[in-house]
Assembly symmetry: C2
């Protein structure tokens, strides 16, 4: 997508699924224009068969809400849409309602960089049900992918064991936004830098790069090309050695490194982008050490992910840094978080009480949780999280609870100890942000802290332990009653 296709901020409000607008019109017509809703954005399973996810993208939700305004051009487009059965899709009165409509929402969210778990609310949106719907798609579009890619990057960074990881994924991302999202979320999750210059400019992320094979091919020989690169970028010189043959590339790098030394400079590194990275990196390390050039670092790239990096270290590969592109930017092998946004409570009369609601399904995993939910995270004496309790403020509850019911298995309960802290923070009130935007560095630090405190049994890749998430007993009771009631009312499935 070319950036020049759209250059006005108000395009944010058409970045939505049509049904959000159709439903908004329906609520407006059905006497529910003032009804209040409470929606939660959450995911149902940890991505990558892992034990956790890293919350990301919510830092941009407040800006989305504040800029959500339909202008004349938007209204004009909507007024031209025809319903499949004929006639205009939207009524003039509704479009007048939309014009200059502002979102009167209050939003609580998990802070960026914090770890999150399946089925607990990452973002809780309250306000007129119309406004809740209008923001749904754009909110999910922000939070789903960034949370997914932050989680992927956290795994890659963990596998790299302290060695720098650079995001190289822009060319495989879904357009410029995709590239920006990858760079931003990866930096939050611990990447050291990005190749994406625009992300550097917008977010202040350190930018990094080497050179391409084309650089080498453009010169008469590899050696000539290395000399030219060293002359042009002596303070930023990583030489790509696999254009023709890695062994010859290493020899040429040694020649240039010695020439650089004579000029008072140092070759920073080589990069290997193909072949057997374990074997080639060992051969390169040996060659540089034998040549008295132990400071030359070895960077690698080539379809890397957490598993290939782990395998390289298991083979003793002396690699100093990683450029990770395709599999980071596309979150291979799970390119979607599957995050959803579900109504959990409704207040049809603005002065009345909240009514908690659920969605049932033939598929149990699609059942939702009711209520106005908060999450309490319990910690042990060392500050390590031990379990998350979901509390519903529409039912009587114990506050700081001592026992919770497992979120997936109601026959399993946990005892809770220690002092909990609330996981959701208010980020928007009455449609306005409650605080200035947090810098990306704060989110990055929070992520590093959260991952450090998390039990390694939860962060490991293979068969991670399930982090306990459960329902406060009042909420578990409510869920059971609602499932029973709705089942009875709407036709309980019969066993044929």
């Amino acid at each position: 997508m070319s950036l020049t296709d759209r250059t006005k901020p108000t395009d944010v409000c058409l970045n939505t699924d049509l049904y959000e607008l159709t439903m908004a019109q329906g609520f407006w017509e059905s006497g529910l224009a003032d009804a209040q809703g409470c929606f939660n954005a959450f995911f149902r399973e940890n991505p990558f068969e892992g034990g956790y996810a890293v919350c990301c993208g919510v830092g941009q939700v407040a800006e989305l809400v504040e800029n959500f305004v339909f202008d004349d051009e938007d209204i004009s487009y909507l007024s031209e849409l025809e319903a499949p059965g004929g006639g205009p899709m939207f009524k003039p009165g509704f479009l007048e309602y939309l014009r200059d409509h502002h979102l009167d929402l209050t939003i609580h969210a998990v802070s960026e960089g914090e770890v999150v778990f399946p089925r607990e609310p990452m973002v809780r949106v309250e306000g007129p049900v119309i406004d809740c719907q209008l923001v749904e798609t754009a909110l999910l579009n922000l939070v789903n992918f960034q949370t997914l890619v932050a989680t992927k990057c956290a795994r890659v960074v963990r596998a790299a064991e302290g060695h720098p990881v650079s995001d190289f994924g822009l060319r495989r991302a879904q357009g410029p936004d995709g590239g920006l999202a990858v760079a931003r979320a990866s930096y939050v999750a611990g990447a050291s830098s990005t190749s994406n210059v625009l992300a550097g400019k917008i977010y202040g992320i350190p930018v990094f790069g080497t050179h391409a094979h084309s650089w080498v091919m453009a010169f008469g020989s590899e050696l000539e090309s290395f000399r030219a690169f060293a002359a042009s970028s002596p303070k930023n010189c990583t030489l790509l050695v696999d254009t023709y043959d890695v062994h010859q590339g290493i020899k040429n790098a040694i020649v240039v490194a010695r020439e650089m030394e004579r000029a008072g400079e140092r070759l920073a590194a080589i990069r290997i982008d193909s072949g057997d990275l374990a074997r080639l990196s060992k051969e390169a390390r040996l060659a540089f050490d034998e040549a008295g050039l132990p400071y030359i670092k070895i960077a690698v790239s080539n379809d890397l992910d957490e598993y290939t990096i782990q395998s390289l270290f298991a083979q003793g590969a002396p690699i100093d840094s990683f450029g990770v592109g395709t599999k980071l930017a596309t979150c291979d092998p799970q390119p979607s978080l599957g995050g959803v946004y579900k109504l959990s409570a409704i207040r049809r009369d603005a002065d009345g009480p909240w009514t908690p609601v659920i969605k049932l399904s033939e598929q149990a995993y699609k059942r939702t949780l009711p209520g106005i939910q908060r999450v309490l995270r319990y910690h042990d004496a060392l500050g390590r999280p031990t379990g998350d309790l979901i509390v519903d403020d529409t039912v009587a509850h114990e506050g700081v609870a001592h026992r919770m019911v497992d979120i997936l298995d109601p026959y399993r309960t946990y005892d809770l100890a220690g002092e909990p802290s609330g996981l959701l923070e208010k980020i928007v009130e009455g449609g306005r942000r409650t605080a200035p935007p947090e810098g990306i560095e704060a989110a990055r630090q929070r992520c590093a802290d959260a991952l450090m405190r998390l039990d390694p049994a939860v962060t490991r890749f293979l068969n991670p332990q399930v982090y306990p998430v459960g329902l406060e007993r009042g909420l578990a009771e409510l869920l059971r009653n609602l499932a029973e009631e709705e089942g009875a009312r709407s036709g309980r499935p019969t066993v044929a």
Copy 2:
């Protein structure tokens, strides 16, 4: 990513990997500022284990090139960047060179919607090697993903056997651009509509939507919610029946359909979004037919892709339309095309001849093709494509050739018959587009024609036949000679 992060068209030129700029500086310093390069964008394997890809995204390349200008803010950002070894990353003289630099490129490309095959150039970029590098990342960022998602959608549309497919993927895409790219490429590849309103506005794609589970949950009962939706959107009424129980949902839909009939309206369809879609769609069809409501259509959604759709029809599911979201927008299970952009010829002296170049690798599949390449597509008497011949204009060749060497297997040759047509069209000359932008409908029609003419053995999902792509014999000879020369010069691998 919020759209409001960047609202100026010139951000296009920082939407790049840092190394493009570092290399540009290097060429500028190394006396190669005027050297001419020829680069090809291509992919190495058909995605999804299929037999073809659908070219997409190239329709936006001309706009990218025309808008590629560094402004003061961009230059200011670049001037502040520090090299890892200290000092500024870019020299003031180079940044002055970049300021108001325009890309002096000539670009040939396969037209959008046309089918393409591995290793043949989709986009051929010629001009100053600096300009070729500067545009690389943004070009790949446009073409890689759109080609991938167009290919995915073509497969989904094929599985749907003429029934409408609507793109529902926005919430799972990589930000707004990702959603726009999915909608645009899917429409080119045969989708009937999108849920993405912004894509409807920008590209004129028909927009489509139903309602969400939240609509049902916001009312006191499902029946009440269906009545309200029918009242609000009688000409666009598809009822989602799986919020609580599909059987009850179908009964409620029948009640509302009869009420609509009395009001002179018709219920268009129901949507089922969970459970056993084959069984439930049959039950719904039977119920509607028995109720004398045979016109009510059945739409389904829920993690669909080409394989689930094929399976549904194999089970005789009476489904009328498909909403395809997550697996379309993320191109699951292959979220990257792996498209690359490689130098194939260089002219160090603007008046001299082109020198064809190749990149070698330990991995044979990473070897590139040399020369100034064109593609001739041969057709049989019925206009069906029979094979693609890659011709290099830097070597003597037979023009319309009678034999070609297989691109992967040099021991295999094909005889060619019939009249070929050139696959690449000039889209940019001297940095300006050569023609007004083509409408998206033309690309859509081209795609439909191309897929209709392609041998079904090539388009089938399971073990598709390999479409013949080969090298004109002069090019095959050149490749062999260059591989031999470079191997000898740069240290042929020895068998240890």
